[in-house]
């Protein structure tokens, strides 16, 4: 399958008391992007916009030559979004959740879903409300892989996880990339370790603005932290 670039052009979103953007950037296929920024920097808002959960006040999104419209079901079948907060139906079992997802996504691969659920050790007969946060994230990733998502957006997936669960999460994301090499992953986090472990590209957001893009690097945690502090100083000076 040939995947295309996702381009954001002058994306802006205005809420009362908060403004995101204008943000312009491109996400290349097969890469892992880290979205770094303090609380309130606009990471979730940006992910909400690319996943069509929030309508931008202005600007546009493009998948290759195709403009992505609000409510674009075609685009929605190409990404998976896993958020920090409760996401799937807590009353449904894992098996039933996967069955529901299989009916909603046109490109669902049931054999793959079964294989991944076993590989990721998902308790199929447990209700979602009984799962740990880490297992819920795994469920989201299984669903993403089973419907052959080209983009996976993960909003603060490691917040609240202990170090072991975080390591397990990194392994799951690596597994996801091994299973589906063309997939683009965007992970928002304010934990440097996460991005050191996963991201090849880092986008730093501050006060709703994209202040730095580090591409193709392999930055260590301390280097990332220094870069992050540097953007804080620059942001204060420019203010």
């Amino acid at each position: 399958m040939r995947h295309a670039l996702l381009a954001l052009r002058d994306i802006e979103k205005q809420y009362s008391g908060f403004r995101l953007g204008p943000v312009s950037t491109t996400l290349a296929p097969g890469r892992v992007y880290g979205l770094l920024g303090p609380n309130g920097a606009g990471k979730t808002t940006l992910l909400n916009i690319v996943s069509l959960q929030a309508r931008p006040t202005s600007g546009s999104m493009w998948y290759g030559e195709r403009r992505i419209e609000w409510h674009d079901a075609w685009w929605k079948s190409r990404f998976a979004y896993v958020r920090e907060n409760p996401w799937f139906y807590p009353e449904l079992t894992v098996r039933r959740t996967l069955r529901l997802a299989s009916l909603l996504y046109p490109k669902w691969n049931p054999e793959r879903a079964r294989r991944l659920a076993t590989a990721f050790d998902l308790p199929l007969d447990d209700r979602v409300k009984a799962l740990s946060k880490g297992t819920r994230v795994k469920l989201g990733l299984v669903a993403a892989l089973a419907h052959q998502a080209e983009f996976v957006f993960l909003d603060e997936p490691t917040a609240g996880l202990d170090p072991d669960a975080r390591e397990e999460f990194y392994a799951v994301v690596r597994e996801l990339r091994a299973q589906q090499p063309g997939v683009t992953v965007v992970v928002s986090s304010h934990i440097f370790q996460d991005l050191e472990a996963l991201a090849e590209n880092v986008l730093i957001l501050r006060h709703g603005r994209l202040v730095r893009c580090v591409t193709g690097g392999s930055l260590t945690g301390p280097e990332l932290e220094a870069l992050y502090r540097d953007t804080a100083v620059s942001a204060r000076e420019s203010a």
Partner: protein, 223 residues
Amino acid sequence: MNASVKRLAALLAKDAAIHGRDILLTMGALVGLSAALWWFGRQPFDVLMSVIFTFNFLLAGFWGDWLISREKTKGTFAWIRSTPVDDRELVLAKVAAVSICVTVLWTATSVLCGAAYWLAGRAHLWVGLLLILLAFAAVSIASRWRFGQKLGQNLPFLLVGLFMAIVTIAARTGEPMLIDPERLLRTHQGVVLIASLAAATFVGAVTLTLHWVRRSDTVQLLE
């Protein structure tokens, strides 16, 4: 099967899995109560039907609220909205779910007295009352989707209460009413008029909800 119909069926099955037991319990309780009133109440037919209709009416409002409230408070609309489900399918699935429940309950509870109704040649009234129930359920869904918990849950009942209060006060003071619902329900033309108003309310509530949901960010649909 058409992909949209398949998604609609999946959403209905999901609501059945989540709310089915609660809805069946309330349905069973009301059918039992209706049967008891019919067999042991010795009430005049019209009084019995008024009581049964009132219970159906209350449940139509509660079910509309249930179907939306849980999704709003648990944030599950956000997942559904990140899948290829269109907002039209999302709204239609909710309206279809509550309409099925309301129709089944109204049929089950009134069928106990159905023979007398059909014999009396007033089947049109049965349909007219069903349309009122469906309209109220749709208004309840619209209100709960559009507003927060307190206002969303209570607004439909407040509107009905206000309407009933105006009718009652006008009847007691001898004011000539533009519309007298009781008299209207006794004539064929009156029932057709009320049924048409109910159908228009149903369509209006669904259209407004669809418009609201389609233009809203997901965060506006959650609590």
